[in-house]
Structure formats: C-alpha cells, structure tokens
C-alpha cells in the first residue's frame, strides 16, 4: 500500500509569507507526528495527533506554527509570517497508534522549506 505522502516536496517562500505543508498518513494510522529536521539540530519534534486531537503541542517553536488534522487523516502544518530560521525539512510520520506495539513510525519524504 501507499506510504506517508507529503506535499509540496519543495517550497521556496519569501520572509513574512505564510506557508501550508500537507501530510497524508498511511490509511488506518491513528497517530500522526510532525518533525523538523535541520542541519546540526537533528530531528526536532513539533506536534503529535491522536485522531483529530493534539495531546502534545510542546514542540511547536512559536505561535507562528499551528497544525490541524481533519477526519482523522490529512494534516496541515501552517507557518505564518515565515522567518529565515524556519528553513528546514519538515517530516511527517504516522503510526498505527501510540500504544506499545503500535508505535513504529513510518515517515514521509519530507517537505524542504526555504525562506528567502
């Protein structure tokens, strides 16, 4: 079956513009995760969804970042008023669930964001 997909694969934007990044998880996966991968910082957790609710938003770096998930499936990560330090690869992952035995995360290819 299809894996996790993300769009766009690449996004170049100007500082101050808003961007939306999309993630389509594997069908049937209830848990969805957003990470940011940047040079020297490794994999940085942003937010986690179980169904449509986000029990853990602790990783969002500022109030310019928000995410939603609808229908227990597609998720959108929105960055408002982008800054150059937002440039990174944004990864999405999904898992069958968060409980023991379900937590193997399957990653998407990422969206490479460049803020000029």
């Amino acid at each position: 079956g299809a894996g996790v997909s993300q769009s766009p694969s690449n996004k170049v934007t100007e500082k101050g513009k808003d961007v939306e990044l999309r993630c389509d998880p594997i069908s049937g996966h209830t848990a969805l995760y957003w990470y940011r991968q940047s040079l020297g910082q490794g994999l940085e957790f942003l937010i986690y969804f179980q169904g449509n609710s986000a029990p853990d938003k602790s990783g969002l770096p500022s109030d310019r970042f928000s995410a939603e998930r609808t229908g227990g499936s597609v998720s959108t990560l929105t960055i408002q008023r982008t800054q150059q330090e937002d440039s990174a690869v944004y990864l999405c992952a999904s898992s069958y669930g968060p409980l023991a035995g379900q937590e193997t995360q399957y990653f998407g290819p990422g969206t490479r964001l460049l803020v000029l």
Partner: protein, 109 residues
C-alpha cells in the same frame, strides 16, 4: 524529562572495521529504545527495536539499563551502511518517541 544523547555527530570508519554508534538516554522508568536510519535520498525508517532483540543488516543493539545506553554495533562495516542514524526513546505510556540529534556514519572504502 526524557532525553536521548548521541555524542557523535559524525563517525567515520573503514570498510570491514567494527562500528559502534553511541546512544545514552535519561528516563526514570523502563523505556523502549529504537534505532532509526536514513539512507541518502531515502526516508527515515525503523532499523531495530530493543524489544525484538533482533539483528538487522548485521546491526545489533543491547539495552544496558545500568549505563542507560543503547549503543548500535556492527562487527564489519559496509559502504552501504553509510547513513544518518537516530536513536529514539519511547517513555512508557501514551507518548510519542523522543529522538536524539543523530549520528552520520561514513564508511570509507
């Protein structure tokens, strides 16, 4: 707070040499530990998990609770092992994985 530390950002070894990627964690309970790998131009993917006690692509990792470590080892490195490796911790309960910052392994021919 839970934390995963990978002290080496870059590790270079010669083909055929043993390799060990270090991972230390801090967590007061009984965690589950994982290694994820990202090969060039590929997605991040699960390599192995301590619960399974398995060997994948010749790699093994043993959880040492006394030293709070979960080092990844392979006796004879291959060029195709060159990749970015992330150690991850799953605290008990309904929480997502906590990842280390990763170690880039470069196997030199």
């Amino acid at each position: 707070a839970q934390r995963v530390t990978q002290p080496e950002k870059l590790l270079s070894v010669f083909k055929g040499a043993p390799v060990e990627l270090k991972c230390n964690y801090s967590y007061s309970g009984s965690p589950e530990l994982f290694w994820y790998v990202q090969y060039s131009r590929q997605r991040l993917q699960l390599l192995l998990r301590h619960i399974s006690r398995e060997s994948i692509k010749g790699f093994t990792a043993d959880l040492n609770k006394g030293e709070t470590s979960f080092h990844l080892k392979k006796p004879f490195a291959q060029e195709e092992d060159s990749a970015m490796y992330y150690c991850a911790l799953r605290p008990s309960g309904n929480t997502p994985l906590v990842f280390g910052k990763g170690t880039r392994l470069s196997v030199i021919a």
